[in-house]
Amino acid sequence: MALLTFTVRRFLAMILILWIVLTIVFAMARLSPYDPIAQIMQQHYQVAQAAQIRHEFGLDQPMWKQYLNYVGGLLHGDLGKSESQQTLGQPVWSLLQHGVPVTMKLGFYALVLSLVVGLPVGLLSAIKQNSFVDHGSQAIMMVLYAVPVFVLVPLAQVVIGVQLRWLPVTGWGAPGVLGFKEAILPVTLYAAGLTGYFAKSYRSFLLEVLSQDYIRTARAKGLKARIILYIHAVKNTLVPLASIVGPVVAYLITGAFVIETFFGIPGIGYITVESIFNSDYSVIEATTLLLAAFVVLVNFLTDVVYALVDPRVRL
């Protein structure tokens, strides 16, 4: 019963957060000084014709009415229509439907890569604590973690793409070998910070477990180091590890803005950035809402899983 109450309470909080997000984004877009209709009409701008288009999009209605129309549309699954010149009148979902899987794919690849590299490095550091390997690898991981992706990306593009010409600096999903080459730089750079994070976190988790009494007992019993590490220690790091992967998944989706924009990857982050430049209110609202929904949903699920695992959380 306590779990059900907890879940319902969290679910209602999630809805409230989403409502606040969509209200803020709606207000910000409408209060922007940039007029999407002016963007559409270019050099043949006419005040009368602009008024006509504004009317067609309902932009001439009072703000509260536009808001009600917007929320009403959302409740019916309608994200609205694009107000940008390049995609005028197209349903917003038709613009986003290919972007969502791209962002998820990018995030998934980066997550896999960062786990594949970060965890073994963290493990190696822990078992070689205070050695040259430990200090060296942790220094590298610290740099990866600390250097912002917006610094790392242009540097890598100039050196690896422009000067060495090893890999393409834009594009995504081309057929054949080119598609693979296109993915290497963005996935690697996206995974870089996470790799550092996972390596450092995992080292801490493992060191903490290795200092526990039951590990000492296992050693005293004469168990082999390999068995102690894999059977007893590593297994017990999985719970704290899971606790950091949840928020990271949310970060991977929302953090795609920089990577997607720099590499021209047609994901949800890049679409959002371009829609801001085009004053395309409907797309801005839809993408922000989608991203917020994803983050809130991941947090909701994490909370529920925690509550399942640890009854103290429900109190």
Binding site: Q39, Y45, V47, V112, A174
Partner: protein
Amino acid sequence: MRIARRLLNSALALSLAATFAISAHGVSSARQAPAGMPTIRLGYLENNPQWAPTLDPAVVEDQNSSYLTQLLYGGLINIKQVGGRVVPYPQLASRYKVTGSGKIYTFSLRKTGFANGDPLTAQDVVFSIRRALSKQTNSPINTYDSMIKGFANYSAGKSSYLGVKALNARTVQFTLSVRAGFFPEVLAYPLNFILDAKVMRGTSTNSGGTYLTTTCKAAAAGASGPFKAVCHSSAANDVTSFYPGGSTPTLTLVPNSHFYQKAHVRLVIPAIDSNQTGLRDFRSGGLDETFGVPTQDQATYRGKPGAYQFPTAFIEYLGMNVNDPPFSNVHCRLAVAYAIDRVTLAKKYLHGAYKPLYSFVPGGFQGYFNGHSGVPYYDPAKARQQLAKCPGGINVTYVYRNDTTDRNAEAAAITAMLATVGIHFTPKGVPRSEWLNYIARDTPLSKTHTAACYGDWFEDYPDSQDYFYNLLYGGVAENFSGYNNKTFNKLIDEADAAANQSTRARLYLRANKMMLNQAPVVPYDNGTAFDLVNTKKVHGLIPDNYRAVTWAKNNDWANVS
């Protein structure tokens, strides 16, 4: 130590697994280029992350769509560049004649075909024009063809009559309601490009032409131009059919083997999002051509092989409200015209990214003149003389659009230049959306009580009529300065109607100089394009003023290798 080695082995195995997973992402329904055909990657589509705004020629309004449709479709007339001049030439027509006092144009068709092998017929031409101008298509630019007899009622859906008919399978005739010497140039606009009636008949033509934009097979089969599209999926009405779903929007083209000028290259045109991205992609080898090199990067490439800077059809000017003081007085306007140093403005403040301009039409257009002979130019002494005859002097607000650093720089420079002769402009930079309200077609400066305002223009179709008539003819909507001079209007009327191109050029030149000496507007620069071509790999792309990119020489892609 053994544990460490095992860990490394495990990491290696997992890395390989991840590598395979990522590589699977890149492997999809790839189409290979025909053996031996070189591939050229062009930066013509600046619309990432979205697909081309439209691939339906009837509704093309933007440069991106214009480039792509020009590769896929042809017109009876098209434009080529000859010695810096913009020249219309018969493309899908082999020749044409003008009769009926300049109101009847008869075109004989060339022996050429669509990509699916259908031969071009007069019926295709009639179908395409009627489709483009129909009420259902609702083209935002159909008024370009408003001189075709019956246009108004036909495009409003009130009549089925339109002045275009097939005389026989290979001859088509247009009847105009007025004499229009610029009709061939209008036919060169994508609006009038020719589609395969057999491919198009029965398809939806409304909703802004989404059928051709989203249906790859139509662009693969019905192409009348030098190239046809390569499709990546058999889905008939799926936008992803032009490129794999979830990938960077990319148009891949191979030669249309039935087109009369056979190309020998495969074109790959990936969407890029900005000229900065284009430059980066070019430098990394991802593009063989990029246009619009950012101003700050131009110095790095100027003078190097494959770097081309050339004037485009974009002009910038300062417009003055001729209906209210102080600029209702010609001396006040001339004082401004003599006080602006176009050369310094272009070279110093705009870093050579623009060319000084004295004519109201850009280079290559009829009525253009090089230099400043016979028109106001930078002369502070003359500016002061004119200012002395300007009652009350000049102390006004100057409205300009402040959306780029170049425009802010030029507004500041103009203000400073005017101040040195005693003219006081207070610059008021506004966002583009607000600026449009000052120059809007239905709000001339006199209505907004504005004395002076920045103006710019890029041709709708490559003819001087598009500049002189729209921006300066008395009573026309986009003429925001309010200039209305009977002699000027008469010269423009005559030039518009004349069928002889030399006569038109002479008349436009007279009108241009006459108007500039009354200075309702002060043109000061001509935009330039700065393109880069990988000339080690690509041959035959030349600067094209009309298209503002490097393009096939003589608009013939057979010249490109």
